[in-house]
Symmetry: C2
């Protein structure tokens, strides 16, 4: 059957939910009325059906392949976003001990606030004096032997700072909120006890969060946890204790397959992300201070590029001018202002070129 569809698309620089790969959207659209062989839309199929067994099984297999996840880790697809993980992590893992947090931006602060409801959350590195403009070196982080875990945030979406390697912190159970740079580069999973990532930046639409967890951490979780907060129950039921977000997981599966088969896996993805980010940071650097990047160079995020213009008036004007050129979502987060260009995995190189062209012209006209 052939249908007419709407296809006029802009460059969407939103921080999340964010741009998805075109081939993924096209396949989802093609099969929306009825998944081939299933006789029903993926929006309608039972989560106990063989069709969905294959969808979630393939998604897990592709994720394991992409990240080379060791066998002693489980993969979970849950609901509630990273925000529910801010609670699930301390509820499951603190067990009466203090937990350590690297305070490197808005989201790590939010994660810590939930941990404080459960027990003692200690700051082991604090970037607030520098307005969160860099990530710490591993050597700056004090690892405490009595900590239940050490929480890091691999990319701070609002400030635009990112770790570019996996922190090597022997002796610590490292828990990582990887929501906004998950699958943007290869990752050494074995350095972490637990990794979680909301889907809506690099992995799919909003409505699912992926958890990768070392199996030994499932032992000894507290008794009488509420079921939806209990990693052990979720793992024992292979993410199907209750009805999961079937369509969201299907979309995540399509994105994972795209990463494997069309992008060249995570090394291929990293190369593309570096090319896009380099193009944009170069435009900032050659502007002679007209555009001022927020992050220190060694911590510049490849995902969220944050910068200021000489005045708030010029920033407003810049955002408006971008909109006339079909570029949306460039206004910085209300808490920090400025400009933020989120250029996640699926964001096209051509969109960055269009932004850089605008930046050069805008600078010339307004200086």
């Amino acid at each position: 059957m052939a249908i007419s569809t709407t296809t006029k698309r802009i460059y969407n620089f939103s921080a999340g939910p964010a741009t998805l790969p075109l081939p993924v959207l096209e396949e989802a659209q093609r099969d929306l009325m009825a998944l081939p062989g299933a006789g029903a839309s993926v929006l309608e199929i039972s989560h106990r059906s063989p069709t969905f067994d294959k969808i979630i099984g393939d998604a897990e297999a592709d994720l394991r392949h992409l990240l080379n996840i060791p066998d002693n880790y489980v993969v979970l697809f849950l609901q509630g976003g990273a925000t529910l993980q801010f609670s699930m992590v301390p509820v499951n893992l603190m067990r009466g001990r203090p937990a350590d947090y690297v305070k490197c931006g808005t989201w790590s602060k939010k994660a810590m606030d939930e941990a404080k409801k459960e027990g003692e959350a200690r700051v082991v590195w604090d970037g607030s004096a520098d307005k969160f403009n860099r990530m710490p070196e591993a050597s700056e982080i004090k690892v405490n032997a009595d900590a239940a875990y050490l929480h890091v945030t691999s990319n701070e979406t609002i400030e635009g700072v990112e770790y570019h390697t996996d922190p090597h912190l022997p002796g610590a159970t490292v828990v990582c909120d990887a929501s906004s740079d998950f699958l943007s580069r290869p990752m050494d999973v074995s350095r972490y006890g637990l990794i979680y990532a909301g889907a809506q930046k690099n992995v799919g639409p909003a409505g699912a969060v992926i958890v990768i967890m070392r199996k030994d951490l499932l032992e000894g979780t507290p008794a009488k946890l509420h079921t939806m907060l209990d990693y052990k129950v979720m793992a024992d039921n292979k993410s199907l204790y209750n009805t999961p977000p079937v369509f969201t997981i299907y979309m995540v599966g399509l994105v994972l397959r795209w990463l494997r088969t069309e992008v060249g896996g995570l090394p291929g993805m990293l190369k593309k992300n570096q090319e896009k980010a380099n193009l944009l940071y170069s435009a900032i650097d050659r502007s002679g201070g007209f555009y001022k990047g927020h992050a220190q160079p060694q911590s510049r995020s490849l995902m969220n590029v944050t910068f200021r213009l000489p005045s708030e008036e010029l920033e407003k004007k810049f955002v408006k001018e971008a909109e006339t050129r079909h570029m949306d979502g460039l206004k910085g987060h209300r808490s920090v202002g400025g400009i933020r260009a989120s250029i996640y995995n699926a964001f096209p190189y051509e969109g960055v070129e269009a932004l850089v062209e605008l930046m050069d012209e805008f600078h010339q006209k307004n200086s």
Copy 2:
């Protein structure tokens, strides 16, 4: 643009996720690449965008219109399904007092199990001796003055028993799990303190749960609740404290509009549901005991029609025979066996006709 799509569809009797209205699927498919005027897929748009403001605002307005929701109630769109509500209800509302539960089937038992983790959960009516084959009359339910709330389940999906009116229990704060018959009939919201319903039966795809809550219950919720469990935070942020399941809420909105504009609201929907259920129960009743309905007549569910055949062998054969006729999802829940035909709002009358035709023929051939 015109695209080729897959459209071969079966009759899907699944208990949830379940069949969605065809016009809803068609509109979602048409606009999947780019929502008109937005320049991006609804799978990609920011939850802070004016486009999504309108989507969630329209959904709430349509829901308020359909159910005639009084102004002193808030409407929330949350994640985690009804299962997370099993916990959120006691966590927010018990406040050191006991809570009362009507034990009328599998799901009400599960709800009570979570409440027991929080405090004292008392059974005020128990249908287990009769294998949950009926709902209690309001007069059979003991209302205790010291209870924080009284929990009822309006339709038990697994056993196929349903209330057909709203329990009138003055003096009690009635909390209702309406997951599997929500919006199948008009409802007097003012009789309840809180109504919750997972979307994936009558209202949309899996991944969202709707909560309708009397505003005074938001006052005095416990301090230091984990944010994602806190109704007050969710209400104060109009369901946008963190990233909501944008696409799922969009789909719910399309279903609500379909109910308003194409079905004739909830009175129109109830009439259609009665017609479908009557057709099916009549086939059971005229079979002279070959098909045995589980529910007592006054509690028969219009949503989930459960019945047995003379033997498990015949039940297996019946399900197989149905599959050859493109009818799927008829196997009863593993905990009770038998046959279950879920015929929610969007399930077509023609599908019930096809099932009844099979039932008559199968009876003739196998007796």
